[in-house]
């Protein structure tokens, strides 16, 4: 029974949001604010259960590991932003997080995004596709090099780079249209299959 009521509520709210396509109205605004409220409440509840309970409470309760209180206290310093006199304390948790993230990312980015990508590009030029890939990569990189004026050979390469970028953006646009339409199909399928049982 609760499942049927749930589907009717879901369908009603779906139609409230779709009503915005005609014009802004009180049903849409009601649904929008309901969504904002439930999202905030959801995040609060999940943040408590999935992080505070698991990462702080359980180590203390199950393993007697009280050292987790130190990073917990450092993390709580983030709330100092609400007290103007002590706002500078937020720098401590940020320094930890950003220092670790920045340090971890440098060697791993070089390994994964630079070396591996270059390794895949530097291949024998024994097929037209490999030639096009190398040409496209070089011309794209030349286009993004703004320290020299795009004239002469650099200008030509830069122009070729733009063509490759336009092909890529065109493909991305095509895929973006596909993605957005898919989202709509998903909702319409819900209305016609899960709610009205018209579609098998």
């Amino acid at each position: 029974m609760s499942e049927i009521i749930g589907i009717w509520i879901a369908a009603g709210l779906t139609l409230c949001v779709f009503s915005f396509l005609y014009k802004d109205n009180l049903f849409y605004r009601f649904a929008e604010h309901l969504y904002v409220g439930t999202s905030v409440g959801y995040t609060i509840a999940q943040a408590w259960h999935q992080t505070v309970v698991k990462l702080v409470w359980y180590p203390i309760k199950q393993e007697g590991d009280y050292t987790v209180l130190i990073p917990a206290a450092i993390g709580l310093l983030m709330f100092s932003r609400f007290v103007p006199k002590y706002r500078w304390l937020i720098r401590w948790p940020l320094a930890f997080m950003i220092g670790v993230s920045a340090g971890a990312s440098i060697p791993r980015s070089i390994q994964s995004f630079i070396f591996k990508q270059m390794e895949a590009t530097i291949q024998p030029l024994n097929s037209i596709n490999v030639f096009i890939i190398v040409l496209g990569l070089l011309c794209t990189l030349i286009y993004f090099y703004f320290s020299t004026e795009h004239k002469g050979a650099v200008g030509v390469a830069s122009k070729v780079g733009i063509f490759f970028l336009m092909v890529s953006f065109g493909a991305a646009f095509g895929y973006t249209v596909m993605a957005r339409i898919s989202l709509l199909i998903g909702r319409v399928y819900f209305l016609f299959h899960d709610w009205l049982h018209i579609v098998k």
């Binding site: 749930g6 589907i7 369908a11 709210l13 779906t14 949001v17 929008e32 604010h33 309901l34 969504y35 409220g37 439930t38 905030v40 409440g41 995040t43 609060i44 509840a45 943040a47 408590w48 702080v56 990073p71 917990a72 993390g75 709580l76 983030m78 706002r87 937020i90 720098r91 940020l94 320094a95 997080m97 950003i98 220092g99 670790v100 920045a102 340090g103 971890a104 990312s105 440098i106 060697p107 890939i133 496209g136 990569l137 794209t140 990189l141 286009y143 490759f164 336009m166 092909v167 890529s168 065109g170 493909a171 095509g174 973006t176 596909m178 957005r180 989202l183 709509l184 998903g186 909702r187």
Partner: protein, 218 residues
Amino acid sequence: MKLRLPLILCFLCGIFMIVQFFVPPFTGVYDKLLNWVMIISIPALVIGLTSLIKLHSNRIIRKTPNMPYSTVAFVAMIVMALSGLIGGTGQGTWFEWMFKNIQVPMQATMFSLLAFYIASAAYRAFRARTLEATLMLVTAVLVMLARVPIGDFLWQHVMPDSVLQWKANLPEDVAGWILNVPSMAARRGIILGISLGAIATSIKIILGIERSYMGAGE
């Protein structure tokens, strides 16, 4: 000191993480540091919500024209949070029921509105004004046609058998070639550029040259 000590901490954490990549034996400190960062980042999940709570509570207190809607948001927030905190978030709970029947449909529908807007935007703005725009348009149309079943369907129903024997799924093959060769080359260039920029920024952060994340003041 209020700025200098956190910068030194950032430097030490950053250098340690770089050194650890090449010199693994610091495993104990490495594991502890990663555990600490996971715990330290917890408040970041909820800190953004405070401005939203402040906005709606101000509207309710000041009795603005949007007060009824802000009341709905506030009540929904409290009900959802309390049902999760007290009743749990697992299978069969009120929290999960509200998530499945209120939050999921609304969030999915909000984003599905984009389908209409992208069609409208494509109609109003996508013009082949220049050679580059034409190239982008042609590629987009090819990918849109070929990456869904109708591309191959039309090809197989329009083309004679002799052509189909040579290439039964030419539209799909063309789209695949576009994505795997020229588009991929440009994307690789973008990945390299972004990665180099990110590495440079990370180095500047560790060395304390880039300090915008620390906020203004001493």
